[in-house]
Structure formats: structure tokens, C-alpha cells
């Protein structure tokens, strides 16, 4: 009953979305405010509708309704309730419903704002959001329906939505269960975070299209979507970081990023999104780059859909698997069509997107932001080419090839280093005009400090040239950015007569975007420390140990003490857990417990590392099942990952930085009142 109800609601939502498109288009063309209002309400209606459908699905998931194919595929009796709920996005059909749910939610939130002078954008924003929503709902309603049920038809079990003739409902005793790799907190939050990021980028895209269609090609659309773009970037960035943390914790290869096509599929919109974040500032401050910002937001939207397509269509396992389900061709068709339409709109409005001013200097902030964009786009070219080349190769020659980390690392390392350098230098440049002299004057002290740090590292830590260049750039970013905080606070202190810390916090509060941006740059520098450490200095060893034997690596000694193995019937898992003692220079540091968890329902292993984390490094131990594991002997693989925790620390600071940057500034209208009050206070204090 719930299955039919849920499906019916989705069909209704699909129709409502279609209606909202028609009403919005007719309303805009005939300047009918009531039709546009009707479209807006239809858009709003989709959210409660999809929520009800989602709740029906969750009800089925939590209550073990294994006659529903999706429930059978992603849950089992031994799973805890919270995992049964999050299994909603554990499979293709459910995650498409989840995508639609989020899009409907965000589009509704957008339509709830005050439109006033932007009312001409409203119908077109609705149209773009509803077309996207219809696409995803259409995929669900017609092809990937999570409410399909199993029927016994003449001795065979077949999935159908509605009962075939002479069929009875078939209910399995237990489900297959969620892939054990997905039963980890990081993996529970990672898809929602990524989807939040993906879906949020639909909104700036919708406003950009509205701007092109209505001819309001000034920066109004950018200002309206500034906060959306920032939050979208936050969610996407966090989704990527969580994915990395999950890989590190449960995939069992001692790393956080493997340059896998599915990882890159989510990384590509992040690259254009970051470029967009910077490039819109140029349009806001100097009225330049209007064409380019349109292209960037169109690219980001297309990469979001393309990324969802890459992950969902099976095309990555084989080009030919792509055609097995209609999903692949439909996604390709949608991306291509939306690209063609969007670019046509840009071409149509090309003359209206002329720049308002000139760029006066090659070292101005706008010039450095352009260089930033060039670097991000170059990294994008490398990523995109690396992902599609194997597909092209297989399509045209039948030969599969692999494009792996060596290519990506070699190609992108110089580009990322250049970006680090820009992060250090660009905050010193001014809008409109900078010269080598002004930049040099502002940065020479930090440059010397960074050089000194690098020399110290050369003598005490490493002689690896690549690492030293990286550390120099990181130190440069940190010194220059802290210097900017210092100088700003000191200047304010002199002018306002405040205590330094009050000056600092008021300084930051007055310009959250700039100082939030600086915090983000600092966090990127910290993440770079972690990445440098693990990429350049990782060491590993593997060996079979009998009880009591030891392995040595990087100054650590790891001794195999004992093994325990037991079944947990409630969780449906067999645990095999080793206990190892860790020593450094003879000093006992603690115990580590790497595990192999075998899940009966899906017949899959999970290797969970035993990990000792410090700021200096991670000692990361895996139980490897190359040879059968027993008390007599077990094979262990040990990684030592120097500095890797700076990656996670940096990502937390990153989150804080974005939240700070996105927090609303003080209302500018209050500025003169506040300033007058302070002048009154300081003169009263004299």
C-alpha cells in the first residue's frame, strides 16, 4: 500500500513540476502576475509531496518490506534503524529520489524569499529548477523506481510496479543488506553532503539563465546567489573531505584520495565552483568578466549533472554497460541539451555582457584572479581528459586503458603549487592596480621568514626538493596571511583607539568575506601540509608475523601479540581482531587493533585499520588476508603517514572559515550610526 502510494505521489509531483514550468513560461510571456504566482505555489507544493514519498520509502526501509526491490537490495534485518534510514541513498533509485527531494527543498526555499525588484527573475528560476526536477523525477518514475516490488509470475520472481496478471507478491525473508563499506559514519554523511553541494549549484545556474533570458545581465544575479554559491561550495568541499576521510578509515589502502574516476567526477564541479567563487568578485568589484562568469556557472551545472551521470550510469566499468540501462543515454542527452541551450543564451546576450571598465594592471587583484581561474581550468582539463580518455579509447579501439595517480599527480602538481603561490600573493594585490614594487614591499619580510623556515626544514627534516618548495609556499601563505590580519588590526587600532583583539574581531566582522577567505586560505595551507606529508614521505612495509614477532618501520616497532575471532549474530558480522603492541625506541606507546569484519548477508570483508594519530604522523596498521589469518601467523601491512592529520585539522578550520565568510555582514545602512557612536565613545573617553 505504501509502495503504491509513494509511487503515486511521485507521479503527481512530476505533473505538478510540469505545470509549474507551463505556468511560469506563460506568466512571464503574458506578464500575468497571477500565473507566475501559481507557478511559484506549484514549485512550493513539490516539496511536501516529495517529502511524503520519501517518508513512504523510509517507512518501507525501516519496516523490512523485502517485497520492495529497493528495500531488499539495500537493507537487512541485522542493520540498525539509523542505517536503514540512510540506506535511502544507498542505492541508485533511492538516491535519485534524494536528489529530487533536495532540489525541491532548495527551489522552494528560493521561491520563499522576497522578490520585489527581482520579480522578473522568478518565473525563469522556477522554469530552470522545475526542468531539472522533472528530469530527475522522470528518471525515477519511468526507469529507476524504488517502489518496484517482486512478484511471483509463473514460477519466476520478477520486479514490477503494479501486479502482473495471476501474480502474487513475493517477500524474501531477509534483504541483501547495505554494502558494508557504506556502513560507516563518514559514508552516511558523504553522499548527502555531496548532493547538497551539487543541488545547491542549480540555484546560481537558474539565476544566471534568468538573467540571460530577461536581459538583466548586470551583476544582480551574482549578488542574489552569492550566499547560495558559498554554501554550495561548502557542502561540496565537505563532501569531498568526508569521502577522503572515509577512504582513509575503511578502504584499507592507507590513503585518502586515489584519483578514481568517481572521486574526480565530484572534484570537477568543485574546481569550476572555486574558480567561480573568485571570478564573481571581479564582476562585482570591476564589472569585468561577465561572459566568463556565465560560462563558469554553466560549466559547474553541467559538471554537476555529468558527475551524477558518471557515478550512476555504470559507464565507468565499461562504455558498453552505459547502454544497458536507459539512464546513461538520458543523462548524456540532458547534459548536452542544457549545455547547448545555455551557451546559445550566452551567445544571444553577448553584446549585453560587455565589460564596464578596463583592467589597468597585470598584477592587479583581478589579473591574479584570472590567473587563478586559468590554473583551475587547467586542472579541470587534466581531470576531465583523464576520466573520459579511457571511455573514448574503449569506444573507438575496444582497448581499455587505465589512467591512474601517476598521470594526475605529475600533471597537476605544478598547477597546485602555482595556486599555493597565488594564495600567498593575491591578498596583497589591490583592485585596479599593483606593481612588482608594491607587492614586493608588502611581502619581503614574509618571504624571508618563509625562506628561513625552509632552510631550517632542510637541515632538520628533509632534503627533498619538491617537499621544500611546497613547505616554502605553505610558509609564505601562513606568514603573509597572518601579516594581513596583523596589519589590518593594527591600522584599526590606531584609527579607533581600540584594544588589539577588539580591533581584530571588529576588523574581521566588518569584512567577513575577505577575512573568511583568509581563514580559508590558511586552512588550505594546513591541508597542504598534510597532503605533502603523506604523498612525499609515506613509508610502508608488509610482512607475515607469528605471535610475538615484530615489524620495524620508520623508528617504530610493532609486535604481534594475539588474535581473537568471534561472531556477532545480532550485527550479522564475524570479527577477526588482532592486538599489536607499538614501541618507539624501546618505549611502549600503546596498543593497536586492526580488524577484518566479515558481513554474512553481503559476503564481503571490511578491513578496518588500527591507527595511532599524532600531529607528527599516523601509524596505520592493517590486517591483510593474503594468507589465511590465524594465531600462528598473520600478515600485517603498516603505513607511516607523516603530517597527515594536518589535512583533517585544516578541513575543520576550512569549515569554520566558510561559515564565517557566509555569515551576514553588519547591515551597511547601520554603518554611519555605528561609526558615529564609536567616535562619540572614543572622544568621551579622552
Amino acid at each position: 500500500m505504501f509502495a503504491e502510494f509513494g509511487y503515486g505521489i511521485l507521479v503527481v509531483t512530476f505533473i505538478v513540476a510540469f505545470y509549474s514550468i507551463l505556468a511560469a513560461v506563460y506568466g512571464a510571456k503574458n506578464k500575468s502576475a497571477s500565473l507566475v504566482e501559481s507557478a511559484r505555489r506549484a514549485m512550493l507544493l513539490t516539496f511536501p509531496l516529495i517529502s511524503i514519498a520519501a517518508l513512504s520509502l523510509i517507512y518501507l526501509l525501516v519496516n523490512n518490506h523485502y517485497e520492495v526491490a529497493f528495500v531488499y537490495g539495500v537493507t537487512s534485518r541485522s542493520m540498525p534503524t539509523y542505517l536503514k534510514i540512510t540506506a535511502w541513498w544507498g542505492g541508485q533509485a533511492g538516491s535519485l529520489v534524494f536528489w529530487s527531494f533536495l532540489l525541491s527543498g532548495f527551489a522552494s526555499a528560493v521561491t520563499l524569499r522576497k522578490w520585489d525588484r527581482d520579480i522578473e527573475f522568478l518565473p525563469w528560476v522556477i522554469v530552470v529548477c522545475s526542468i531539472t526536477l522533472m528530469f530527475f523525477l522522470g528518471l525515477v518514475v519511468f526507469y529507476e523506481n524504488p517502489f518496484t516490488r517482486y512478484w511471483l509470475v509463473g514460477g519466476n520472481v520478477e520486479p514490477h510496479m503494479f501486479a502482473p496478471s495471476n501474480a502474487t507478491l513475493f517477500t524474501a525473508a531477509d534483504g541483501q543488506g547495505l554494502n558494508p563499506l557504506l556502513r560507516h559514519p563518514g559514508m552516511v554523511i558523504h553522499p548527502p553532503m555531496l548532493y547538497l553541494g551539487f543541488v545547491s549549484y542549480v540555484i546560481p545556474y537558474a539565476f544566471a539563465m534568468a538573467a540571460l533570458i530577461t536581459g538583466r545581465t548586470d551583476d544582480r544575479w551574482i549578488r542574489l546567489t552569492r550566499r547560495w554559491s558559498l554554501w554550495a561550495w561548502l557542502f561540496l568541499s565537505f563532501g569531498l573531505v568526508l569521502g577522503g576521510r572515509w577512504a582513509y578509515d575503511v578502504l584499507g589502502w592507507g590513503g585518502y584520495w586515489g584519483w578514481d574516476p568517481v572521486e574526480i567526477a565530484a572534484f570537477m564541479p568543485w574546481l569550476t565552483g572555486t574558480a567561480f567563487l573568485h571570478s564573481v568578485m571581479i564582476q562585482e568589484k570591476r564589472g569585468l568578466l561577465k561572459h566568463w562568469n556565465m560560462i563558469l556557472v554553466i560549466l559547474t551545472y553541467s559538471l554537476v549533472i555529468f558527475g551524477t551521470f558518471l557515478t550512476r550510469s555504470g559507464v565507468l566499468s565499461s562504455v558498453h554497460a552505459f547502454a544497458n540501462s536507459p539512464i546513461g543515454p538520458l543523462f548524456m542527452g540532458f547534459v548536452s541539451l542544457s549545455l547547448i541551450v545555455s551557451i546559445s543564451l550566452v551567445i544571444w546576450r553577448w553584446p549585453d555582457l560587455q565589460s564596464e571598465t578596463e583592467m589597468k594592471s597585470m598584477l592587479s587583484r583581478e589579473a591574479l584572479f584570472l590567473l587563478n581561474n586559468l590554473l583551475f581550468m587547467s586542472i579541470l582539463v587534466i581531470c576531465f581528459w583523464g576520466v573520459i580518455f579511457p571511455l573514448i579509447s574503449e569506444l573507438f579501439t575496444g582497448q581499455k586503458v587505465t589512467v591512474g595517480p601517476p598521470f594526475y599527480e605529475r600533471a597537476t602538481a605544478p598547477l597546485f603549487s602555482a595556486l599555493l603561490f597565488l594564495m600567498a600573493v593575491a591578498p596583497l594585490s589591490a583592485w585596479g592596480h599593483s606593481t612588482f614594487q608594491t607587492l614586493g614591499r608588502a611581502m619581503w619580510k614574509s618571504a624571508i621568514a618563509a625562506a628561513l623556515v625552509t632552510v631550517a626544514l632542510f637541515f632538520s627534516y628533509t632534503q627533498n626538493i619538491g617537499a621544500l618548495i611546497g613547505f616554502f609556499l605553505i610558509a609564505l601563505i601562513l606568514f603573509i596571511t597572518f601579516q594581513e590580519f596583523w596589519r589590518g588590526a593594527r591600522a584599526r587600532q590606531k584609527v579607533q583607539g581600540e584594544n588589539f583583539f577588539i580591533a581584530l574581531s571588529r576588523l574581521m566582522g566588518r569584512n567577513r568575506r575577505r577575512y573568511g577567505g583568509y581563514i580559508i586560505h590558511i586552512s588550505m595551507a594546513l591541508m597542504a601540509i598534510g597532503i605533502l606529508g603523506i604523498e612525499i614521505f609515506q613509508s610502508s612495509t608488509q610482512g607475515m608475523l607469528a605471535q610475538g614477532e615484530e615489524l620495524e618501520i620508520a623508528g617504530y616497532t610493532v609486535k604481534y601479540r594475539e588474535l581473537a575471532s568471534w561472531d556477532d549474530a545480532g550485527k550479522g558480522v564475524n570479527f577477526t581482531r588482532a592486538t599489536l603492541d607499538v614501541y618507539e625506541n624501546g618505549v611502549f606507546l600503546g596498543e593497536l587493533n586492526p580488524r577484518i569484519d566479515y558481513y554474512f548477508d553481503s559476503q564481503q570483508n571490511m578491513t578496518i585499520p588500527g591507527n595511532r594519530s599524532t600531529l607528527r604522523d599516523d601509524l596505520y596498521v592493517l590486517l591483510v588476508d593474503w594468507q589465511p589469518v590465524s594465531n600462528m601467523g598473520a600478515t600485517f601491512k603498516i603505513y607511516v603517514n607523516p603530517l597527515v592529520n594536518w589535512l583533517w585539522i585544516g578541513s575543520l578550520l576550512f569549515l569554520a572559515g566558510i561559515v564565517f565568510a557566509a555569515w551576514p555582514d553588519h547591515d551597511p545602512a547601520e554603518e554611519p550610526i555605528r561609526a558615529a557612536r564609536q567616535v562619540g565613545q572614543s572622544s568621551a573617553a579622552d
Partner: protein
């Protein structure tokens, strides 16, 4: 006595040879196998390096590498063996030969083209700078307070 000493000498020499023979048969360590396996990809799984792949087939391939190392094959010879038997997909990047030149050529070409377009556009947007060193010196020292002033000015413009 002479016979006894000769037998002893013979046994001693024999043990030397057998010792050498054992040394040649010592199995390559897991680390040595991993050093080669980490550069190869599983021929049947997706995007999985051979040293971490958990399947039975990969286990057998790793044993094969161990045997090949024990037989004295070099890293390059082992990689060539896998390519010959399982195709180019076992390598971590497309072979640097034949029709794969396109793979390596295209990104630098596109990036350079992008840089060229950018440079042309920037030249079109800029006018030549008239050298005013005195201005730029004054600007940098008061740049922070100048920024406040310009920020106030911008905001008052917005409210008009």
C-alpha cells in the same frame, strides 16, 4: 686419516654449495612484491591497484609476481608480461607509444591555448601603465586605511 680428511673437506664444500643454492631460493618479501604490484592494476576489477585488490584472482597474480621475482625477472619484465597477457589496462597510465600520443599531447595543447587566449584578452583589456612610482609608494603604506575609505564610499554609493 687421509680419507677421513678428504671426506670432511668434501662435505664442507658440499655444504657451501647447498648454502648458496638455498640463498638463491629465498622468497621475495611482501614489500618486494608490493613494489611491483602497486604499479599494476587489477586486470578484471575496476580502478583497483594490484597490491590492494582483495579478490582471489589478484591473490594469484601477486603470487605469480613473487614467483617471477624469485626467478630473477626485473620489474620491467614483469610489467611487460602482464601487458602482453592482459592488455594495456594493467598499467597505471596509457603506454607512451603508438596511438596513445593523443592522450599525452592534448592537455598541454589545450592549457597553452587557454593561456594564450587569456593573455590576448588581458592585453585587450589593459592600457599601457604610465609610470608613477611616487603614487604607488604612498598607496602601499596607507593601503589599509584607504581600503576603509573606499569601502565607506562604496557603501554610501549603494544607498543612493
Amino acid at each position: 686419516m687421509k680419507k677421513f680428511l678428504l671426506t670432511l673437506a668434501f662435505i664442507f664444500l658440499l655444504s657451501l654449495f647447498t648454502g648458496v643454492a638455498f640463498a638463491q631460493e629465498s622468497t621475495p618479501s611482501d614489500d618486494e612484491v608490493n613494489a611491483v604490484a602497486s604499479q599494476l592494476y587489477c586486470p578484471v576489477c575496476e580502478s583497483t591497484p594490484l597490491d590492494v585488490c582483495p579478490t582471489e584472482a589478484c591473490r594469484q597474480w601477486r603470487d605469480l609476481i613473487r614467483q617471477q621475482l624469485a626467478d630473477g625477472m626485473t620489474e620491467d619484465q614483469i610489467k611487460k608480461y602482464f601487458v602482453d597477457n592482459y592488455g594495456a589496462r594493467v598499467l597505471a597510465e596509457p603506454p607512451k607509444q603508438g596511438s596513445y600520443w593523443l592522450f599525452y599531447l592534448l592537455p598541454p595543447v589545450i592549457i597553452l591555448a587557454g593561456a594564450f587566449i587569456l593573455l590576448r584578452s588581458m592585453k585587450a583589456w589593459t592600457k599601457p601603465i604610465v609610470a608613477q612610482p611616487a603614487h604607488s609608494a604612498a598607496r602601499s603604506e596607507t593601503s589599509t586605511t584607504d581600503e576603509y575609505v573606499s569601502q565607506f564610499e562604496e557603501e554610501s554609493k549603494k544607498r543612493k
